[in-house]
Every structure is written in C-alpha cells, then in structure tokens.
C-alpha cells in the first residue's frame, strides 16, 4: 500500500496485511460472477441467441463456487472476507456461514434450473427486454443478501434483487403485469425503506454496521428499548419481504402475472430471503428480543400458515393457488423462528431449502400444465392424467412434497418443527403446522383431481393445448428439479445435518464472530 511520501501511517492498525487465500474468494464469487455475466449480457444484448448459453455458463460457475463455498464452510466453519483489505468493522465484510452458504447454493441451483427452462419459455421479445441480464443481476442480489455480513450491505443487495425482480415482473408489459408490479413495487419499496430506517436507528445505537460487531456489542445493551424497537422494525420489514400475515398482500397480487419462469424464481427465492434476514437479525443479533417477541411471531406464523392455505383453497387459478401456498410455507418457517430452539430453527432452515426447490417446481409445473392443458384455471384444465402420465407423476410427487407427505421432502422439516413445538409446549404451533399440511393436501388434491383426473369431456373444449415446441426440455428441467426434492424426502440425513449446523451457527454465534474478528476480536 503506497501512500504519499512523507506521511507516517500505521498501516497495520487498519488494514489486513496478510494476503488472503484463494479460497476466501469463494465468499464473494457468487456475487461477482453473476454481475460480470450480467454486464456482459448487457453489452452484447443484440446477440440474443447466445444469451441463454452465456447465462447458463455464468450461473453454472456461480453454482460451482457455491458448492465449493458450502463444502468449505461445513469443513472449516464460517468464512469471511472484508472488502478493500480494511479490518472489520470498517470495511464491509462478507461472511458465509452454513446458513448463508446453504441458502445461496439452493437459490443458485433453482436459478440455474429456471435459466434452462427459460431457454424455451422466454421468447425473443423477453430476451430483448433483458430477461437474462435481469436474471443474473437478481441472482447477484440474492447471493449477496445471503452472504453479506454487513447490515447496510444487506440493504444494498435487497435493493438489487427487488429492483431486478421488478424488471422481471414487468417483462412484456401486459396490463395485469403492470397492475401487479405496481403493488409489488410500492409495497416492497415501503418495506425496504422501513429496513433502511431501522438500519439508520441501528447505526445510531451501535455505531457499527458489521453484523458480527453488532452481535458483540448487543450483549451490553440487552433488554433496552432501542433494541426492542429495532427487533420489531426488522420483524416487520423482513416479515413483509417474507410475506407474513398481515403484510403479505403484495404476493398474491403479483405472483400470478409474470412469465412462468419468473414466477417460479420468485416463488422459490424471494420470500426466503426475508426469512433468511429474519433468522439472521432476530436469532443471531437480537436473540433476547426475539424471545420477547416469540409469542407474537408464533401467532403471526399460525395465521400465515392457516390463512395462507385458506387463501389457496379459495382460488381457481393455479398460479394464485401456488402463490398462497408460498405464503403458507413462510408461516411454517416462521414457526421455527418463533420457537427459536435448535430443533425448531433447523426445521425452519430445512423447510426453507425444501420450499425453494418445491415452490419453483410447482410454478414450472403449472407452466407445463398451461402448455399441455391450455389454461391456468382449474375451471378449464382437465384430462391431463390421460394425456400426460409423466407430468401427472411429477405433479403427484410434488403435491406430496408440498403437503409434507412421504416420500416428499416436506415431511422432515415438519417432523422437526412439530417435535420442537411439542418440546416447547407450543401446542398451537404444532397444531397449525399439521393443520396447514392437511389443508394443503386438500388444496393440492383439488388441483390434482380437477386438472389431472377429471376428463376433458366434462369441461368445455375451450382450453386447447398451446404447445408448439416439444415439451422434452420442460420435462427434463422438472425431473432434474425433482431429484433433490425426492432425495430430500427419501434420504434427508445430509440436509438435516447441514440445517442443524446452520441453526447452531445462529444460536451460538461465536464461530461467526471469530470468522470476522480472528484472534479474540479486533
């Protein structure tokens, strides 16, 4: 570090002088790679034939680094890098623990699969309006949110993915899309602003933005009103991102409008970022405040679960049904947050992973149903069992996974959560988790019976299959996504283990702090 000659500077006091190893770069690569590829795609936006391939290479590289990151974190504990060589808390730290790395990897896989699906789903006009650059930048925001260790930086990545998601939402500019996007944008911007305001207060209280630093300093301020206010403001801001009742109306207003691949991406990823942020802030930074708020969160969780699935029952558009199921799933994760115990949190984390995969698959499924059955509406869909047995099989396994029935993936997180609720004497939570699973079974059973079993003669022949291209790619993508879902259902041991590590990393944050501040704190 060269400085103007003549200045006496104690460089070592503020800078990291030891060179960082190549593995440290894993923590930042999942953000930089999609930005690089997004920028490239912008510069070569006229070469639309290559967009899909370039995006896939980029996302593939991203997923590759995320796999390496997760393996590294599991083997060696949290990994941190502070930007610009500044010592934390002065520079911005990126800190990946098992939680962040797992979420990042899952979201990367989901995005990769969606990008393959997009090759056939996104036509030339969609590409012209920048589907792939938006996708890459969205993923940069998503990965950044999962990996950052700085709360203001978290806000920045929130902005990145919210604005990108807005761009994806309006792709095509249909009237319904604009309507949905307006609600989505306004409500999300309000929530993001709330997040920013809360972060301002937080800085005023702590004088630092580094999460590990906050976690250290929070010890001295336990139980004071500012921390309570901060915790409840974050609960609201992130709860809204996560689509928790009663601030979840933006989701059903918008998720049924965009292209199906976008809806799949959103349904899989966006709410989970809110859940992630809730876990990160409330469990790791404000655990005492979380336990004060636990009853409130518990009721929010119950209402979100039950009302979400009730909403699903009241719909006849498959995309709306699935949108409400996304909400209901968020309630399940919030139940884990309300419990705040090791088992409860690992259940919530496992459910989040499950939910990312399953919700994406559900939306892609409705895309296929629309293509092969001609409609999104249960009033018009019929006879898919006879015409598409493979899709039926996929739909069935997915339905079981979502409802939490074996051999689907949803069973295990629910087992963990019910177990944790019973251990904590939270009967209502346990009941709500099971009840929502039951009602989900009814809701999806209805879809299955009407769209797949019911014969076409019964309904008007107005719904015609709209597929022109061969559906093989779509099937392939869905089947690829089914692999982790079924593995999670049949042999969830590795997943449970990771969720367990992630949960204990949240509850016992010493590992996280020492990754950022080695040698007993800086």
């Amino acid at each position: 570090m060269a400085v103007e000659p003549g200045k006496i500077v104690d460089v070592t006091a503020a800078m990291i002088t030891a060179p960082v190893t190549a593995t440290d770069w894993l923590v930042i690569a999942p953000v930089v790679i999609p930005i690089l590829f997004g920028a490239l795609l912008l510069m070569f936006r006229h070469e639309m034939r290559w967009h899909g391939i370039v995006a896939l290479i980029g996302l593939g590289a991203m997923v590759g680094t995320e796999v390496a990151l997760l393996l590294h974190v599991l083997a060696n504990g949290p990994l941190s890098m502070t930007m610009g060589s500044w010592l934390p808390p002065f520079g911005i730290s990126f800190t990946a623990d098992a939680l962040g790395a797992t979420f990042a990897l899952t979201s990367g896989i989901v995005a990769f699969i969606c990008a393959i699906f997009a090759i056939r789903d996104i036509n030339v006009s969609g590409r012209r309006y920048g589907f792939y650059p938006f996708l890459m930048l969205l993923m940069a925001g998503v990965s950044g949110a999962f990996l950052t260790g700085d709360i203001f930086n978290l806000y920045v990545w929130f902005e990145v993915f919210v604005i990108s998601s807005f761009g994806l939402l309006i792709l095509g500019s249909e009237k319904a899309q604009i309507d949905g996007a307006t609600k989505y944008a306004i409500l999300n911007l309000v929530a993001t602003t709330l997040f920013l305001i809360a972060t301002g207060y937080l800085y005023g209280t702590f004088g630092t933005l580094n999460m590990a630093d906050i976690a250290r300093k929070a010890e001295g301020l336990r139980g004071t009103a500012p921390l309570m206010t901060l915790a409840s403001l974050y609960l609201l801001a992130f709860g809204m991102k996560a689509a928790a009742f009663p601030v979840n109306f933006w989701l059903p207003a918008s998720y049924h409008t965009p292209r199906i691949v976008t809806a799949a991406l959103f349904g899989g990823l966006l709410t989970k970022i809110g859940v992630y942020a809730l876990l990160r802030t409330l469990v790791m930074l404000f655990p005492v405040e979380r336990s004060v708020l636990a009853d409130l969160i518990g009721w929010v969780a119950i209402l979100t679960m039950v009302l979400g699935v009730m909403g699903a029952l009241a719909q006849s558009d498959t995309r709306r049904i699935f949108g409400f199921l996304v909400i209901s799933g968020v309630g399940v994760m919030l139940a884990g947050l309300a419990l705040g115990t090791q088992t409860g949190l690992s259940g919530a984390i496992l459910y989040a992973v499950h939910s990312m995969l399953v919700m994406t698959a559900l939306y892609l499924l409705t895309g296929m149903m629309k293509e092969l059955g001609g409609s999104f509406s249960l009033r018009e869909l019929a006879g898919l069992y006879r015409s598409t047995p493979l899709l039926t099989a996929i739909a069935l396994v997915l339905a079981l996974a979502v409802a939490g029935l074996p051999p689907g993936s949803g069973l295990w997180p629910k087992v963990l959560l019910v177990k944790a609720s019973l251990e904590a004497n939270q009967w209502a939570l346990a009941g709500a988790v099971l009840l929502s699973g039951f009602l989900t079974t009814i809701a999806l059973g209805r879809v299955f019976i009407l769209a797949f079993w019911r014969d076409r003669e019964a309904s008007a022949p107005k719904a015609q299959a709209t597929n022109t291209a061969s559906p093989i790619l779509g099937y392939g993508v869905l089947l690829a996504l089914m692999v982790p879902i079924v593995v999670l259902g049949v042999y969830p041991e590795p997943f449970i283990k990771i969720a367990d590590i992630a949960a204990s990393g949240l509850l016992h944050n010493a590992g996280y702090i020492s990754a950022v501040f080695p040698v007993g704190g800086g």
């Binding site: 510069m43 520079g91 761009g167 009103a225 500012p226 009602l439």
Partner: protein, 971 residues
C-alpha cells in the same frame, strides 16, 4: 439368507416391483400378473423363512442407518404378531393378484394398477414391520396415498374421484394426528424405537401428556380403520376396482388401525380414557355398521358397512383392556380378512358376470354360477358367525368377553346386548346377501348373461373359504400355534390361558350365538319385502349421511370459509394494503415503547439553530406540499419536491459536506428534468373527479389516513430523536474521518467512503442504478400513453395552426425556432460540461466530485442536447449507446474489484499513488479511480438510458410514419 436381509427384502421388493410394473407396456396383463405374483410369493416365502427364528429367539430385527440426526433409523422388527400380519398381507396379496388378472379389463391401464398395488403392499408391510415409530408413520401415510390412487383408479368416474378425495382427506388428517401422537410418545419416552416404547408403558400412562398423546394416536388409528364417527369414507371407497376393495378396504389397510391399537395395546390400553374412547367408537361402529349394512342395495356397500361393523367388534375387544379380549381381537382380524376378502371377490365376480351389483335387480344366480354361490354362502356364514366356521370362534370369544365386567360403566353393562343385537344384524345382512343374489326370482333385465367365471378367478375364493372351514373346524391344529406366537409377542409373560376349541359346553356365549342367529333370521323375514323395494340406506338415518356432512364441512371450510376469509382479510387493492402496512409499522415501533422506557432526553430549544430550523421548516413544508398536491397537481408537486431537495442540499452544506451537496444537487436537477419529461405522458385528470362534492365517507377516510400519516411520521421522529440523543457510541464514522486520507489516499471523505471503505456498497448501488434504468427502459418500450396524451401538446398545435394560416411559413417552423438562442447556447455547452465532468471526476478523490457526480454532470450534458436539438438531431450525430455504457461500467467495476486477487488482497482492495501528468500536474491515481471510471460510465449510461426512454417515446410515432414512407418509396 440372513434374517435381516429377508426383512429388508420384504419391504423393498414390492417397491422395486412397483417401479418395474410402471414401465411395462399397457397391454402386458400377463407379464404384470406374473411380476406381481412373484413379488407376493417372495414376500410369503421370506416371511415363512423367518418364522422358526421368531419362535425360537423372539423378534427378528434389521437396521439400516438412515437419519441418525433425527434419532430415526430404518429399523425393521418382526415378532409373531407382525409375522401373522405379514403373512396375511403377502398371502391375500397373492390371491388378489391372481384374481385381478381376470377381473381387470384389457382396456384398463394395467401397469398403473399393479404399480400402485405393489407399492401399497410394500407400504403395508412397512407398517407391519416398522421398528421405529416415525418410520411407521411414514409407511402409514404411504398407504393412504396409494389407497387414494387406487380408489381413483377409474378416474373418469366422478364417484371414484370423490371417494378417493374423501378417503385421502379423512385418513390424511388421521395420519397427521398419528404423527403428532407418535412425536408426543417419543417426547415422553425419549426414543422412537418401538422396543423402547413398548417397554415404557408405565412411563407413558403416568405422563401428563398421556391423554393428548392417546387422543392423537387414536384419531390416527380410528380414521384408518373407518371407525365411528370417521367411518363414512369406507363405503365411498367402494368405487375402487373390486380387487382393491378386497385387498385394501377389507383385508389389509383398514386393519392397520386395529393393528396399531393392538401393537400399542400393552403401552396405551388399560386406562379409563382408553376404555371409553376406544370402547365407544368400537361399539358405535359395531352396531351402526351392522344396522346400515342391512339396508344397502349395493353388494359392495353392504360388505363395506359389514367391514366397519367387524372392525368395530375388534376395536371393542381391544378397548376392554383384558388379555383375552386382545387374543380374540387378533384372532378376529385374521378371520375377518379371510372371509371378507373372499366375499368381496365373489361380489366382484357377480358384478363382472352380470354387470350390476344392485341386490334389488339381482336374484336367482345360483343356477348360473353354483360354485361361486356355494363359496359365497360359506363365506357369508362365517361372516354371520355360523358354527364350524372361523367367524363363529372369534365371535364366541367376543361374547365371552362382552359378558365379563371390565370397567364398571354403562358401556360395560350394555355390551352383551349390543353384541347380540349387532350379531343378529350380521346374520340378517348375510342372509340378505345370499338370498337376494343367489335365490328368488330370475332377473330379466341383466346387462349381461351370467355364467361361472374362469377357474383361476374363482380359485382365490376357494382357497380362502377352505381356510375359513379348516380354521373353523380344527382351529387348534391350524391357526393355533401361529396365533399363540402372535399373542405372546404382544402380551409377553402376561399371556393368559385360552382355548380355541369349538365346543366349550353349553355356555352363555353359545346361547347368545344362537339367539343372534335366530333373531337375525327372523329380522330378515320381517324386512324381506321392505328390502326388496326400499331406497338405498337405512330408514330414518338415511338423511344423516356422514358423507353429506363431510361434503358440507368441506365446502364450508375449503370454499366458503376460505372465500370469506379472503374477502375479509385480504385485499387486492393497494390503498388498504399500504394503510395496513403503515399501521402495523406504527404498532411495531410503539409496542416496545409501551413496554420499556426509551429514555428520552429532555427536549431543549437552541436558538443558534433558528436559521437551520427555519430552513427545515421550509423543507418540511415543501415535502408535505408535494405529497398533498401529488395526485392532481403534478407540476406543483414536482416544484415542491425540488424545494425539499434543495433544503437537503443546503443541509449537507450546513454540515460541511460539500461533496454530498454537489452530488445531491446534480441528482436533483437531473431527476427533476426527467420527471418533467415524463409528466407529458401522464393522463389528464378525469373530468368526473373534478367536482367539489366529496362524499362524507371519502372525507372521513382521508382524515383517518391523515391521522395515520401524522402518527407514523411523529413516531419516526420520536424514535430518531431518542436514538440521536443517546450517548453516541464510538462509530466507524470517526474512523473514516481519521483514515480517509492516510489510508484511502483521498481527502474527500465521502468519495473515499464511497469508492474505498464502503466501495462495495457503491458497487451494489451502481448495480441498482443500472437495473433501474434497464427497468425504465423496458417499461417504456411497450408503453402506450393514455389516449388524451397521444396528440401533440396544445402549444405545438396552436403554433402549427398559426404557421399554416400564414402563407410565408410552413407548419413546424415556429416550433423549431422556439428558444433558438438558448438552444444554440445549450448545444455549445456540450464540450464545456464534458470538461466540467472530467474535472469533477479527477478531483473526486480529494475534493468534492467523483465518478458519480461526474456521471450525473455528463448526463446533464446529454439532456441539454436532447432538449435543445431534439432526439433525431442528436442521434444522427452522436453514438448514444447507454446500455453498453452501463454494461462497461459494471464490468469495469467488477474487474477492478477482482484485480486485487492478483495481488492476494481481498475484493476491491485499492492501490493508490500520485502521478505527475504534463500540464495537469500531480493527480492521485488509486486503482479506485478505475473503479470510479466504472461508476462514471454506469451513472452516465443509466441516466441517458432513462432520458432516451422518454425521448424515443415522442419519436416513435414519427419513426413509424417514416418507415411507412420509406417502404412506399421502395415499392
């Protein structure tokens, strides 16, 4: 073969067979049957091979490591009881496969049938053999799912779909309750291992959680075994193909519930709660099932209600808490499986051969199918409890138990009477079945000419009926030892003495049996005429159908209730959502204040701040004014917005942050101009809303919103005040001020923060800016303005009209001459602003300026060009490629960040030094300056992209007409 391997194979073979069966061609009926038959025979052989070991050494176990984190391993455990059931499942499975080969029609999708069937069998064996409670629940749920699929096998039939859904709903909710119950039991015991749980009876019964655990557990068992009040799904499940009914809904799956109750009998039974709940459900099912069965017209309906009744009998036996009752229950489980499965198969044959199952249409079939009729008669006799058949034996044991007093209560005292009555009903419906179908007058309107089925289709019935007879006549030599193994495996040392002999002398149970036989026969004689013409369902109870109640509840909950909730609690409109959001935010912030003191410092007014306060008063006024005017007076609102922005700029200056002020000012200018350009395309205010008469409701709503807004704003202020007046913590800002030059190599703190200390945030934020621009761009590509803003602005029209009116001018001249001199100056300003931007850029590191400010300034230069000369003029002369600039900026910024990798430093590590340049002098060159260049490029690109999004909107119409003209020329 090792015993544990055979256990594992027993579970996995059916699933493997299922997967294979699914991929057979749809016409491979024989291959499918061979496959399924082989799998079932393998199951039989494997189970039989384990028997000697079970007798000799007790339970056989197998374990595969599965989910150790969850305390759940794939543990299989086969004791005598499980063995008996495994034999039942495999044996009857084999017979049903054989039967189904002939029953299923070639048009049916056979692979599906066998795939589901085998998978079901695997799941059922899983329930029976599970050595772990959670594993058991997993298999339990699987049986519900495959039952759903098999009931809905003829999915084109609406009854099948409804029946499947109902079965899934009822057994599904039961399964979830069972899961909860099992988790509770595991919580009490501390293990999910079946052996451990079975050894912890006292612990469980004395626990506080015993009752909830019991209720949840029983909800699972009773729904599965179709016990009152959850019985109604079973008759509706009869829409399934008959092999399915015979296998799932009489012999195996519905037995899972009573199997489970017997399995956990040593642990859960014997308490007063158990006695009452199980006893009541069992007795009600026994009596009502038998009564309802009499009045069914459909043979399968009759058999279904009879199944409910017999399962009720088993449940009642289990409720008593006496070991002898348990023995009778297990015995009756096997007996019922044999005679009921054969009866279902017979019913299937009748249906198959005549085309109907309606007993009012059938009659006199004895002469067409004497073999089948004889077999059915024997099986019915077993069902009715006629001596020398297996049904008689277990029923007599039941009578003997019913007379005993177990827990003195009303339930106990009525038991003998109920038992006799229900048995009489059983005799009545058995006679009705036989008499109604095989005797009486010949039917004349049958869909098909009846005849005997092929031998192999009848063979399973023959075998089962033979079993009924042999067990009924020599029980001690046949079932005796196996039953004993089963019973001892459940009861262990508590196994009492019991006798399976047919003849115990003239005892009270024997008298009861004869009373029931006689009474039942008499009842049939009385009802005969009524039954020949009655409607479906029993008198009086006909209206009270469980199915209808279920449907009502389902509709109420899942449709009306859901709609109601959605209408009440949900909204698709934005305003209520925002209102709700702000209100919740208010509560979220106020709630902690209510609970804890915030420690507000006393407010003091400092006169030195008067000017500053005044400034802010103006700012607040402007901001509120902007909000107030935004809806109808957009221009006014925009002016107010500018005012508020200026106050912000001044505040930055006030607090000695000129760098921020410069940036803010430039941003304010550019955004205001862009919004002004956008205003042109917004629709006009609708005439109908311009009336002053605002309704009272609307007025009130606005006041309410105002109150919420004031409260929220006040709250924000209060919290901010509280936070700011707290003792300031040591902040990283102090550090930044201190280190900006020494370490960041710059004197402009803000810029150093932006590009160096927190350069990474900037990296993110420029990404945001780029995405925003892209979004605006793609939004405008498809933007179609409101009809009233499509035509040229009024001023242009007036001026063009003047031009046309005057002969010496052509239309458009005035417009193009408009503001001629300013336009020329604006054009000339282009290079000047470029220099300014460059200046801002280079001095950025030390003095106010930087890549961001420079980018905005540069964008202003473009805006002036577009304003002065028009879109086409500019784009004919300049290559404006904002998307590339955005891409380049982002790429450069990312690459600069990555660059430090080469030197082994973290992302975005800056490298700085001063460089002497000729003419310009010493300038600071940090690698941050390259990053700044990226910022510059991106900001410029983003702003210009938004600009041209507006600009092209006005050109688009012109361009379209120009293209049309060009095409005409070429044509």
């Amino acid at each position: 073969m090792a015993k544990d391997t055979s256990l594992i194979l027993m579970i996995f073979l059916p699933f493997i067979g299922s997967a294979m069966a699914a991929f057979f061609p749809s016409n491979a009926r024989n291959a499918e049957a061979w496959l399924a038959g082989a799998v079932t025979v393998c199951g039989l052989v494997l189970a039989s091979m384990c028997y000697p070991a079970i007798v000799a050494e007790g339970p056989v176990r197998a374990q595969i490591e599965w989910l150790p984190t969850l305390g759940l391993n794939f543990t299989l455990r086969m004791d005598g009881f499980a063995w008996l059931f495994a034999m039942l499942v495999s044996g009857i499975g084999f017979l049903v496969v054989l039967y189904a080969r002939y029953y299923m029609s070639p048009e049916d999708p056979i692979p599906r049938f066998y795939a589901f069937f085998l998978a079901f069998m695997g799941a059922m064996l899983g329930i029976v053999l599970s050595g772990n409670l959670i594993l058991l629940v997993v298999f339990w749920e699987l049986t519900s799912i495959f039952s759903f699929l098999l009931i809905g096998y003829w999915y084109h039939n609406a009854n099948a779909r409804d029946g499947a859904r109902m079965a899934l709903t009822v057994t599904g909710i039961g399964g979830l309750c069972l899961l909860a119950g099992v988790l509770l039991i595991g919580h009490i015991v501390g293990s999910y291992d079946l052996d451990v749980v079975l050894a912890s009876g006292d612990l469980i019964r004395s626990s506080d959680l015993y009752l909830p655990a019991l209720i949840l557990f029983l909800l699972g068992a009773l729904t599965k075994s179709a016990q009152f009040p959850f019985h109604f799904w079973l008759p509706n499940a009869m829409a399934a193909p008959t092999p399915v009914s015979a296998y799932l809904h009489s012999a195996t799956m519905v037995k899972a519930g009573v199997f489970l109750m017997a399995r956990f009998w040593p642990v859960l039974a014997g308490t007063y709660e158990w006695f009452w709940i199980v006893g009541f459900a069992g007795m009600a099912s026994l009596l009502l099932g038998a009564y309802f069965a009499i009045f069914q017209r459909d043979i399968k309906g009759l058999l279904a209600y009879s199944t409910i009744s017999h399962l009720g009998l088993i449940t009642l036996l289990l409720s008593l808490g006496s070991p002898l009752g348990l023995i009778a229950a297990i015995f009756h489980m096997t007996n019922h499986a044999t005679f009921k499965a054969s009866l279902f198969m017979a019913a299937g044959i009748i249906d198959h051969e005549t085309g109907t199952r309606d007993m009012q249409r059938l009659g006199g079939l004895f002469r067409f199918m004497p073999f089948t009729a004889t077999l059915a008669m024997v099986a019915s006799a077993a069902m009715a409890g006629v001596p020398l058949l297996n049904g008689f034996l277990s029923k007599e044991m039941f009578f003997a138990e019913a007379i005993e007093t177990h827990a003195d209560s009303i339930l106990d005292r009525v038991a003998p009477y109920v038992a006799v009555l229900a048995s009489a009903f059983a005799v009545t419906y058995s006679i009705r079945f036989i008499h109604g179908v095989f005797f009486g007058k010949l039917p004349d309107d049958l869909p098909r000419e009846p005849h005997e089925p092929p031998f192999l289709m009848r063979f399973p019935i023959q075998l089962l009926v033979l079993t009924c007879l042999v067990v009924g006549i020599v029980p001690g030599l046949t079932i005796g030892p196996f039953l004993h193994t089963a019973v001892t495996s459940v009861l262990g040392l508590a196994t009492p003495e019991y006798s399976l002999a047919i003849w115990h002398g003239v005892t009270l149970p024997l008298l009861m049996s004869f009373l029931a036989l006689l009474g039942g026969a008499l009842l049939y004689l009385l009802l005969k005429n009524y039954l020949a013409h009655c409607e479906e369902g029993p008198p009086y109870f006909r209206q009270l159908k469980g199915q209808r109640i279920f449907e009502r509840v389902m509709v109420a909950v899942s449709w009306r209730g859901a709609r109601f909730l959605e209408n009440r609690l949900g909204t698709r409109r934005l305003q209520p959502q925002l209102r709700l959001l702000v209100a919740v935010a208010l509560i979220a912030a106020a709630w902690p204040l209510y609970h804890m003191s915030f420690g507000l410092a006393a407010f003091s007014w400092n006169l030195d701040d008067a000017v500053f306060s005044g400034l802010w008063a103006i700012g607040i006024f402007c901001a509120v004014g902007a909000a107030y005017q935004a809806k109808f007076h957009r221009l006014v609102a925009l002016i107010f917005l500018g005012g508020a922005g200026l106050v912000t700029c001044t505040t930055f200056v006030w607090f000695s942050a000129p760098d921020l002020a410069v940036t803010q000012l430039l941003v304010e200018i550019v955004t205001t101009v862009l919004i002004l350009l956008g205003l042109r395309w917004l629709p006009k205010r609708s005439e109908e809303f311009q009336t002053d008469a605002i309704r009272m409701a609307a007025r009130l709503r606005r006041y309410r919103d105002l109150a919420i807004a004031v409260a929220a704003g006040g709250g924000m202020t209060l919290v901010a005040y509280a936070v700011m007046t707290r003792a300031a913590p040591p902040t990283i800002a102090d550090y930044f001020l201190e280190k900006a030059y020494t370490e960041g190599g710059g004197r402009n703190v803000v810029n150093v923060i932006l590009v160096d200390f927190r350069g990474f945030d900037t990296f993110g934020e420029i990404t945001v800016l780029g995405i925003v621009a892209l979004t605006v761009f793609s939004l405008f590509r498809r933007f179609r303005p409101a009809p009233d803003s499509v035509e040229s602005p009024e001023q242009q029209r007036v001026q063009n009209a003047t031009d046309e009116a005057r002969p010496d001018r052509t239309a458009g001249e005035t417009v193009s001459d408009y503001l001629l001199i300013p336009a020329v100056i604006m054009q000339w300003l282009f290079p000047v602003i470029i220099v300014l931007a460059a200046y801002l850029f280079f001095r950025g590191h030390d003095l106010p300026g930087g890549g961001f400010a420079a980018g905005v300034a540069m964008a202003a230069a473009f805006i002036l060009q577009y304003l002065a000369a028009g879109t086409r003029w500019v784009e004919d002369r300049l290559r404006v490629l904002p998307l590339n600039w955005i891409g380049f900026g982002l790429l450069l910024a990312a690459l600069v960040g990555m660059g430090s990798w080469l030197f082994g430093y973290p992302f975005l590590t800056s490298h700085s030094q001063y460089v002497e340049l000729p003419l310009i002098g010493s300038i600071p060159v940090a690698s941050a300056i390259l990053f700044d260049l990226g910022v510059f490029s991106l900001v410029l690109g983003a702003t210009v992209l938004m600009l041209i999004a507006f600009a092209h909107q006005s050109v688009r119409r012109l361009r379209a007409s120009r293209i049309a003209a060009a095409e005409e020329e070429t044509a």
